[in-house]
Symmetry: C2
Subunit: 479 residues, 2 copies
């Protein structure tokens, strides 16, 4: 159990429960007041009510914005908005940054443009850029006017990048120094700050033009000799990123080189921002969630307390695709209705061929897609990978096909039928292996995302293919 | 593109290509030498060969261990081992830590116990603990003997925790200070270090017994007044972890509170280790990969160049489960063979009912499982979630069911059949919604992992259930 406060070791769950309890007590009193009409009674209840609210508000004030965000995400809409009303307005901005997109939408819908602008005013340009897409257009325009020139410039720059680019994730909290001063001078310079930006583990060394010359880890300030020049002790070849770099690649570099922060440098070598590990961790988490959600046929993260209608919209796209592929598979079966009429066991056995092929194909394609994502698989590896996957499919097809053929023989006592089943399973698994290697590699060569919908596609092929192979072989050899 | 070296901006991919090129040139020469017999020729080739090897080795020496690991993972076994031979032995340990489990196995298999021990000697106790499970038992025993008492104690402690516990992920690189000294004294103390441990963003304040009293962010050393006492400026309520805490929860806390390092404290309040963000990032990545791999029916991460036999072993468990569920579904169909014989269109339409139900059920269960993992869904929410999911299923079932019933009517011109199809689709989607909510919540209440095999289970239910509902309704109403 993680404890934010060592003195009072409460888990996040405990804190959520406390808030909900207080909220319920508050509601109970509210109901009482509504029901009872006595003047005096009402006053007493009103006081109790106020006291509960004050306690709840105090509780919320003590919590980290991320914890308030968690509580808001864990509450159904009505309770969520009740709590949201109690949050002090100066904390609104920080909390909006922490909640998920789906929940943020519900919170912003509850605020008027005045409140939104007040909340946004406490944020930096890079944080504003994260919120902006969820805000009403006219509010964003109004907001722009309240910013000073530098902030506006930065907001515009951040908004100009795609959300998967480094430029959209960088912040502007860089502490810059020159290379011709001593560490002593740097230390004195830093003492004038009230506080260093979060995650500052290195200072950025720039020349008079603002071009990056190197980085100085602040650890060096502590262990190095104060008389040394920055230029002597700085690292001259740090990992740097371009604002147009892919955020996923940046995240991999953070992981690979164990970075905490890294400078972002434009094409001319000028320092223009900073990436921090916390943004990268969020990015990694979001990416992997998107992968899991897409694999299950959800378009995006869903507020679990969303309305039925919102959920339907989130899910319909993949359902529609699935319906189409199912319809194709159904038409393949339709081709062989005559055969099924003559040998009805085919109808019972055909889903096995399709299902096991689908599972096997998904195994192959998932591995290849992951290999491409990590950069370990290239188009040139196609032949070698194909050989391996075909080998695996051949083994699995023959082995499990034989098991299944045995079971089918026990059930139907029809040896030719069992042989057809064995052959169809092996062939469908080979088809799955070949397509599982080819589809992502072809997409890679065409410059498309190899992951998107890969599972749906391979399943469509193994379903239709499996039905076709099994019923086709049966029609030729058994009837 | 991430660039480790700003002077020569090569991407990781470029560097991989260079290494492979050098390796191929080396092999080409080797082949030439084997083919040509002339003494002089051989000598020349030998020199060229040596030169290439030296260049390759130099190239490898320049690379970050993580980059060498990436190159090793991206090469088929034979090339991988050729490169591994060229890596300087003092870097072996660091590189072994960076490669994936599957690839690590192939590298260790290529080393004798002498080499392994040499590699291990360059590592810290917490790093050794990461390697130990992959090493031969007798090597681990031999290794234990070479360690000093403190290191041995730490290694034993790290090995005593489950790999999903904080204790298995913590390191021992803590810099500790007392609270009754001034910042000035701390700064002077730090100057005696050659280097601070990686990721040091805070110092740990302990009493004479080693109990944690607070943490001092090193930023405070830089901006604070040198005369202030540590006890005055330290944070007294840091986020701390227990070695027995769940690593996933620790990772969430790192994400939530944007931590870089955090102290690990035992039940008695004694500081016993340190968690760092890089370990947490690795953990998050591995967890999300395991989720994706399991969803696709892979037991664990697979070396993409693994042998057919290894791949078969990695995949057989899920295939076997899939086969069983397919067999059950097949037997359900078997119950209705008589009906199918009479109305063969049933055979063509039944996979649609099963397939669309499966997709819909996977959407529901994925959402609930994710909500449980993030802590937002509790057993108490069951009723509310059920109401929502049933609403979504009812809408989708009726809407898409109607679309499909229309298509079926066009194909078969059988209105009662279309009505049965519509009803079966709606009922199966309701079944999927109910089970999609119940299965994970019941598992949660029983204290099991709600995620494991959830997709397989829901698909099994919607397949068998879909066939049963559709064929059952058809048998009652159509025949």
């Amino acid at each position: 159990m993680s404890e934010l406060n060592r003195k009072s070791p409460e888990s996040l769950q405990d804190r959520l429960d406390q808030v909900v309890q207080l909220l319920n007590r508050h509601r109970l009193v509210e109901n009482l007041v509504h029901k009872q009409e006595g003047q005096h009674q009402e006053l007493v209840e009103h006081l109790v009510h106020q006291q509960n609210l004050a306690e709840l508000q105090r509780k919320l004030d003590e919590l980290h914005p991320a914890d308030v965000a968690f509580i808001l995400e864990s509450l159904p809409l009505e309770e969520r908005l009740a709590i949201w009303q109690l949050v002090r307005s100066e904390r609104d901005g920080d909390i909006l940054l922490e909640v998920s997109d789906a929940v943020r939408e519900t919170l912003i819908a509850d605020m008027d443009s005045h409140e939104i602008i007040a909340a946004a005013n406490s944020l930096d340009a890079d944080e504003l850029a994260d919120l902006a897409p969820d805000l009403p257009r006219d509010v964003v325009r109004e907001l722009m006017d309240t910013l000073d020139a530098q902030q506006r410039e930065r907001l515009k720059s951040a908004l100009s990048y795609d959300e998967d680019q480094v430029g959209a994730l960088m912040d502007f909290d860089m502490v810059t120094i020159r290379d011709d001063v001593t560490l002593e001078v740097v230390i004195r310079y830093l003492r004038r700050f009230d506080e260093l930006p979060d995650h500052t583990d290195k200072l950025f060394v720039v020349d008079t033009e603002g071009a990056l010359k190197g980085v100085l880890p602040i650890k060096k300030l502590l262990v190095g000799s104060p008389d040394a020049l920055v230029g002597e002790v700085m690292a001259e070849d740090p990992v740097v990123f371009d604002p147009e770099d892919d955020a996923g690649e940046a995240a991999q570099a953070f992981e690979r080189y164990d970075l905490v922060t890294a400078p972002v440098v434009d094409a001319k070598g000028k320092l223009c921002g900073r990436l921090t590990i916390d943004e990268m961790v969020d990015y990694i988490r979001e990416e992997s969630e998107a992968e899991v959600l897409n694999a299950a046929g959800l378009r995006e993260e869903e507020d679990i307390f969303a309305s039925v209608w919102k959920s339907v919209r989130n899910r319909w796209a993949w359902l529609a695709i699935n319906l189409c592929t199912a319809l194709v598979a159904s038409r393949v079966i339709g081709l062989f209705e005559g055969s099924i009429e003559k040998l009805v066991a085919l109808a019972a056995l055909m889903p096995i061929v399709a299902g096991v092929g689908g599972n096997s194909g998904n195994q192959t394609i998932t591995m290849i897609v992951r290999g491409i994502a990590t950069g370990q698989v290239q188009v040139a590896h196609g032949k070698r990978l194909l050989r391996k996957e075909v080998g695996v499919a051949l083994f699995n097809g023959l082995f499990w096909g034989m098991v299944l053929a045995g079971v089918a023989y026990l059930l139907y006592g029809n040896l030719p039928l069992s042989v057809v089943l064995l052959s169809a399973m092996t062939l469908n698994m080979l088809l799955a292996a070949v397509m599982g290697v080819f589809i992502p590699l072809i997409r890679l060569r065409l410059g498309r995302d190899p992951a998107l919908g890969s599972s749906v596609m391979i399943t469509a092929i193994t379903d239709s293919g499996g039905f076709f192979i099994f019923l086709g072989l049966a029609t030729i050899f058994l009837l």
